[in-house]
Symmetry: C2
Subunit: 473 residues, 2 copies
């Protein structure tokens, strides 16, 4: 089946920043999406999908020149064709799923139920500077809960519960969910006399302190912020002081002098409510912790914030982040729409997992059985066998080209199809087939003779025993 590798005569170069996967990788990506979707639905989130295309004024409504610089506008390749198509102009590709969510909620508010719990798994596009690990097209998998005028803190607590279910289901190793509340650090700095701008700039550096060993934190903060040495000392002391278990950290926070600042006190109270409910929703203490360094760069977070780290692979950075915001969409709506949400950057995550071999593809096809073809005159039998297997929900391929058996077995092995059915004159005249389990070394031992009427049942059992159902990595 494999000829020379020279099919291509002028295969175009890949476009920088646009990743695509081989089938064996794509199968895993699909399975990830399936599991993420299942976890989101288990928690009662409803799917929506918005067009890839929005009006430019919608995309730029939140401001931020940085975002604007990354927007891809669209236009007809050959220019506008006639006046009637003016509706086509001033359009661009969405660069996240939050702005489209805001527009969607504003457009259909009367037809939605609030709190509106939605998930959205779609590609977004950003004209980022091309560099390793940065993609111009990537999947985001978001959930948000949007309230009308108000939203319980329990909505915040549901986020770690969903994250816990998602990453247990993805089975990519141990993970830990970091939780904080932005009001705490903000209040802390204000309590010690730091002004608004210095504080905002300082938080951006604090958010990235993880890149340095704790012993260097003082030095880094002195070098990279305008915080006074005295305040820097207090900040690092604060972080070291808060490093205990959840209950101790909360108590320590409640006893802290900075409670004199009302934001600090409110943040501590909110964090307490959220963390308690996270436990009640079934997330064990082994999988989440309070981490006050967490600030999240995005300015629109106003309370609870989350990040998720893969234990042993912290350098990948957060694999699922989010937080609480006061108002989804001041631009589109009169009412205040507070919300809380999280996002998984799936394309980047998958690229990292493949790169670090945390995930290893095993097969390039969903097929579990290849029905080989020994003799043209038995093709009707081969097709009927395939049909019987498919009717029993076993993914099956028939080898329909002419080739020697050895070539057909190699084809199955190369694609990762674990079972092959072999049936020539002899087998079929006895009303049976050979079922062979293919192993890398082509060991001929695992072969069974199976009567035709029992094929589906026996293959089902074989797949179960060998643990070969579903997609694995």
């Amino acid at each position: 089946m494999r000829g020379s590798a020279s099919v291509a005569k002028s295969a175009p170069l890949p476009i920088s920043g646009f990743i695509e996967f081989l089938p064996e990788q794509q199968l895993i990506l699909q399975e990830f999406i399936r599991r993420i979707r299942a976890a989101y639905e288990l928690h009662g989130f409803s799917p929506i999908e918005t067009p890839a295309v929005e009006r430019v004024e919608v995309l730029t409504s939140k401001g931020g020149e940085a975002a604007e610089r990354e927007i891809y506008a669209i236009s007809r390749l050959l220019g506008q064709q006639d006046g009637a198509e003016a509706s086509d102009s001033n359009l661009a590709l969405h660069f996240d799923l939050t702005v489209p969510l805001a527009r969607y909620v504003a457009s259909y508010a009367s037809q939605l139920s609030f709190p509106f719990r939605r998930y959205q798994i779609q590609k977004v596009w950003r004209g980022e500077r091309a560099q390793a690990g940065r993609f111009r097209e990537f999947y985001q998998c978001d959930i948000d809960i949007i309230g009308r005028e108000q939203l319980s803190l329990l909505a915040d607590a549901e986020m770690p519960a969903v994250i816990y279910d998602v990453f247990r289901s993805l089975a990519i190793g141990e993970f830990i969910i970091r939780i904080s509340n932005r009001k705490i650090l903000q209040g802390f700095l204000r309590h010690y006399g730091v002004d608004r701008d210095t504080s905002a700039a300082g938080l951006r550096v604090i958010d990235k302190l993880d890149r340095h060993p704790p012993a260097d934190w003082n030095k880094v903060l002195i070098a990279q912020t305008t915080l006074s040495p005295d305040v820097v000392e207090r900040v690092t002391g604060f972080f070291f002081g808060a490093g205990g278990a959840t209950a101790e950290t909360l108590q320590w926070l409640k006893d802290h002098d900075a409670n004199a600042d009302k934001d600090f006190a409110l943040g501590v109270e909110e964090l307490g409510v959220v963390v308690k409910a996270v436990g009640e929703l079934g997330v064990p203490e082994t999988h989440f912790k309070i981490d006050l360094r967490l600030a999240r760069g995005l300015d629109y977070y106003t309370g609870t914030v989350f990040e998720t780290l893969l234990v042993g692979h912290e350098a990948i950075g957060s694999i699922c982040s989010g937080g609480r915001y006061d108002d989804l969409t001041g631009f589109f709506a009169d009412e205040k729409l507070p919300g809380v949400g999280i996002s998984i950057g799936l394309t980047r995550l998958m690229a990292q997992l493949l790169d670090k071999k945390i995930v290893k593809p095993r097969a390039s096809t969903p097929a579990k059985v290849l029905v080989t073809s020994l003799d043209k005159k038995h093709l009707p039998d081969y097709l009927k066998i395939a049909n019987a297997l498919r009717s029993a929900n076993i993914a099956t391929e028939v080898f329909t080209e002419e080739a020697r058996l050895g070539k057909q077995l190699k084809y199955a092995l190369r694609k990762g199809i674990p079972l092959v059915i072999i049936a020539g004159d002899q087998e079929l005249s006895q009303g049976q087939v050979q079922l062979k389990y293919l192993t890398e070394d082509f060991a001929q031992k695992d072969v069974e003779e199976i009567p035709l009427p029992e094929i589906a049942a026996r293959v089902t059992e074989k797949l179960r025993v060998l643990g070969l159902c579903g997609i694995a990595w």
Copy 2:
């Protein structure tokens, strides 16, 4: 939970040609995609996904100004930022999944196994003139089998087998797969002396004869083609003669004078092989038929062609079409890559099914249970109940806002959540909860008292008995 309908202050107008669905519709679309994917995988097709963006020269490589006119180019909204980003220029959105497949196969030939069986479910974009039922962004769900230099006719026969599995699984009513071979009509016309151009133009009209009653076919062909009255007579006679069951039609074709034309004879032979294998692959005669009028507009089909009609809703047109082509990608590859494929235009299909109420949304959430919240002090219990249900894989929502019970029940009813759990002081002190099946008329009868440890098991059983698992329409 429902306030006034006035969330929106400046919700932007929808963009013409870009459809988006409400959650209750999106849930069904998702379930359609899941079932289509499952049927494709059952037949051993591997997923791939290509970037939405291709180089303009790739998209226009097949020629065809009509396609080119519909292409959306992309460019940075604020213009190119610097020379290093030149890789960003001359890019556009794909308008189908066939051109990207050709480019993908050329790019990765040495890493793929042939015959290459792939499926691809993605959105495509076309700057079509806006009109009812036409979309500028829509899902295509394609499968193709690509051979190297050659490909068995059995690959053609697999297409109806997949179509049969897909549409049985979608459960949208009876359907029939029409099968023909382009060589037959082409050979027929040549046999009766029709030249190439007249024949090509004639085939385009023949392909749309269905729009007229059979009694008018002569008249239509005379008016809309340059075929002579004599040939028109023969063509309609040919169609009426071939109207029998599959075996009779094949025999009738084999006996026909036009077999003197070698294309006609080859087409009849190919059709015979394909139709026989379609039956052996398990598609019953009730679900497919030879229909020689089938010509398919697209010029690249060279043999077998398919269409699928929804019985009783033929006006929708074909819901799944495709065919055999000689060469996927002469432009990119030295080798000849013959293939066969089909495509489902899912967005248009879904819009039609909703419009004609063939599909009726029942719920706007995947949640099957709402845990209501009667008393703030019992919130830990409510969260634990939700966790127990989710651990048993039952999609569950907790009502976390403060509201009277009546309001919470209305919320569940409006979203289509069938079961609610009610637990106040009295129930919880006795270690139990109320499980209520919500019906439109709020009949209070279907209420059970359930001990706390049995909730998950009892709810699972209740959903099974009521037939409420999964998504229905």
